[in-house]
Symmetry: C2
Subunit: 230 residues, 2 copies
């Protein structure tokens, strides 16, 4: 069992985007704590499976973040399952989860499953649109969501997701201040070491994604926060 509590940095790879073998090797050997495969568009069993097999050549922990029931495949170290707390559609609260449990419930090893309480904050991102998320939130909303996750649902992870844009550190801090048990993930728009450092000061774990496909050197540089945030 992987202790995700110790993870400070995760690279998130989109199976719908291509990465050559050399770049994939650099990501896997970067010193990051884990690689998460996940995305919103064009996620298929086929492209997930291909990427999984390429990464399984390395010893890095590999996580699948499940975005639809159709593309759940075995072979990952862990499975992260999102529940989107600020979605206005019950499908993204527990509707997809219900279908997944009806289909795979008897096969699931729950010790490999981590349930993430998502709050999506960038109104322009794909995930906000798909889940019809109410992104117009105040600090008080974020505090209440954090309390909900930490004290009521007692989920292992709260994921503050600014997907595609760099977030407001004040909002992330509002969440962090309410969490005593739940681990705080921050994701969205991290493209420099400085941005990584700023969010790693507040969140327990930062997720670095898009910059991998834009500037590999800058992406790799973000792993250095592991030295300054031990």
């Amino acid at each position: 069992m992987h202790d995700i509590k110790t993870w400070k940095h995760i690279f998130k790879l989109d199976p719908a985007k291509s990465l050559n073998d050399d770049d994939l090797r650099r990501i896997c050997m970067s010193g990051t704590d884990a690689i998460m495969i996940g995305g919103t568009d064009n996620i298929t069993e086929n492209n997930i499976s291909q990427l999984m097999h390429r990464i399984n050549n390395y010893s890095i922990p590999l996580v699948l973040e499940i975005s639809n029931v159709e593309s759940v495949i075995p072979g990952f170290d862990l499975y992260f399952i999102p529940t989107v707390l600020n979605s206005s559609d019950v499908k993204y609260h527990n509707g997809m989860l219900l279908q997944a449990l009806k289909t795979y419930g008897h096969l699931i090893d729950f010790s490999e499953v981590v349930f993430e309480g998502y709050v999506v904050l960038n109104p322009d991102c794909k995930v906000a649109k798909v889940t019809r998320a109410n992104t117009n939130l105040t600090d008080e909303d974020i505090e209440a969501y954090a309390q909900m996750v930490n004290d009521m649902y007692r989920l292992p992870v709260m994921y503050v997701e600014y997907s595609g844009t760099y977030g407001e550190t004040g909002m992330v801090k509002a969440a962090a201040d309410m969490l005593t048990e739940t681990q705080l993930f921050y994701g969205g728009g991290i493209s420099t070491y400085e941005e990584a450092h700023a969010m790693a000061t507040i969140a327990d774990t930062i997720i670095v994604g898009n910059i991998i496909y834009e500037d590999m050197d800058k992406a790799l540089k973000t792993v250095e926060i592991k030295e300054t945030h031990k």
Copy 2:
């Protein structure tokens, strides 16, 4: 702290209905494990408060099941907060909870709070209509909800609610069979000792409500399941 795990029998009182002092004394002295105040219609701070003060003359554990944010009042031993897992309206998943936490979050002692995962199964009951619950569920749905509550949300309580009608024991058993950690509450239509006994054989805790207002002797008789289900 009350150990609700030991509770086999709960009387649920509706603050919108009247009960004379003698009947209230008989309920409080019946040997039931706790009294829960809750309802759907005409629940006000005033009628909850009055009933609470009358019951506080007895030593029985007293719980408020919160049905709206406006009628939360201090003075109870425990607060049960429902999340309706098969509601089609996010308000009854976590929407009301968000408002409650924004209003009262800083005041809440979470050691006094129990989060209940409700599945509402009687399509004709008020709570099903208010929450727009999808009550057309199969055994497989109930199993998936139970797994969701037990293994994903890890809620302390799953509440199978047939409000106003006696449920199908097969459905209740489908839930019970999936629960290893979560405590199973059954409520709905229990009006005889035999019905209480049948459900207490399957569920951890039975909730007896309406019959109190229809036939006090029969209601009190249901408490005898505590002798046969130790």
